[in-house]
Amino acid sequence: MSEHLVAIMEEHGEYCLRVAYLYVKDWAMAEEIVQDVFFSYYLQQDRFEQRASLKTYLVKITVHKSHDYLRSWKNKRHQLLEKLHIGASKRTPETMLLAQDERTTLTNALFELPITYREVVILYYYQELKVREIADILTCAENTVKTRLHRARKMLQEKLANNKWEVLMNDNF
């Protein structure tokens, strides 16, 4: 069994970790989530019927675990402490310049999106899943996914005005 699990972790571990990070913005937490994902898969692998690919199945578990974390008190406490820490730090010209530079990066623009819009961008553009698969993972209608993608693209366009990523170009889902 552990050999099978090792093979699965080798193949799917990296992107599950990155997806979890894009949800929770914290590598340590993302690692915890991914541990939980593979442990859950090990315990309930008989529930996987190969109707979807294993990748989609594992992404689905990762998304659910990330949602669980985002809803948890642990995350709320962490966010509160983070805000208090930022508020307390002094604003020097150097830190302001750094912050301006950070704002231009794609990751930060993505992190500024609300989770409902961020996740569709992650799953569609980063994980390259189909709208149908995203609807299945998020247990919502396909049209809801399309609407969220459209709005997310608009929000990203405002934040990344000088760039021309394909995420900002076409609207054909």
């Binding site: 069994m1 552990s2 699990l5 090792v6 972790m9 080798e10 571990g13 990296e14 599950c16 970790l17 990155r18 990070y21 590598w27 690692e31 991914v34 541990q35 593979f38 442990f39 090990y42 315990l43 008989d46 529930r47 996987f48 019927e49 659910h64 990066t105 794609l106 990751t107 993505l110 553009y125 980063y126 390259e128 609807a135 247990t139 919502c140 209608a141 990523w165 394909e166 995420v167």
Partner: protein, 311 residues
Amino acid sequence: MTTFKEKLDQELGEAPRFTKSLQEDILRQVRQTKKTRRWSYPLIIIGAIVMFLLIIEIGPLGQIEQTQHASIVQLAQQQSIKKYTMIYNSDEEIFKAGRPGWVIGQRVMEQSSEKVLLQQLLQQATVTQMNERTFFRLQRDVWVEFEKGQVMKLKMFINDEDIGIVDYDNNSFYKVENKDLAKAYLDLILNDDAKFGMSGLIVMLVIFLAIQMLGDKLMRKMFNIPKEYVNSHHRRAVWAIKILNTMMLMVIIIKGWILFTVIIGGYLVVSLFSSIFIDYYYGREEKRHYLSISSAIVGLLSLILFLFYIS
């Protein structure tokens, strides 16, 4: 790979983050955990079925009235009738009437004129040989409660001119040969027969099925619940429960327990809870148990409506 993905990967760092040590941590966690079968849900279902059977056994249906009385005539002469219930039953082995509310379709007699009529009948009854009973027009099970709480179970065979009564507990046979009383009692029984209509039942059943289907469709659309089973285990569990429920229903119908409210309520509770448990166990992420819960609510409301309709 899209440039978006490429750029995002660059920003997140090209070096793999999913390290060997992380893998080792997961494997250690896996090795420490013994994979055990989860018995809680099957145990709850079995427990519910056992409880259901126990209720039947120790409840009012399984209890035998131990009241010893000399004869129904003496009792009727000494005490007045508090209330009685009546139901049609052609089976001589089973007694169907019971306390008000326990049996579906029985008529509860609480008016003084109805009670006086039965009191007079019982007072005028005479003990006779069993083989004298030859032909009768109507047959009724009558459950009688007297003022001091004594209970009698009577099987009545009604003709135009006389009435035969069997004390179900003692198996003794009585006869009332009073033309006027027999006629009055026959009228009383016939007066009731038209109320419990089959057409009304069929209409209610159709409405119930329509509401169930509509509710199911609405819930599936609202919560995006797919029609397919979650996996083969889910399919097997659902079918096993369906077969078990059908077998239970067959037994209930064959044994003639379908009229007893407690049996129907118990059957509904067992079947609905088992369905909710299975849907929750296999498909709680997809909120499949909402379907069972909604159908349980519809089922219970329909049962209450049905009881109102027949009472």
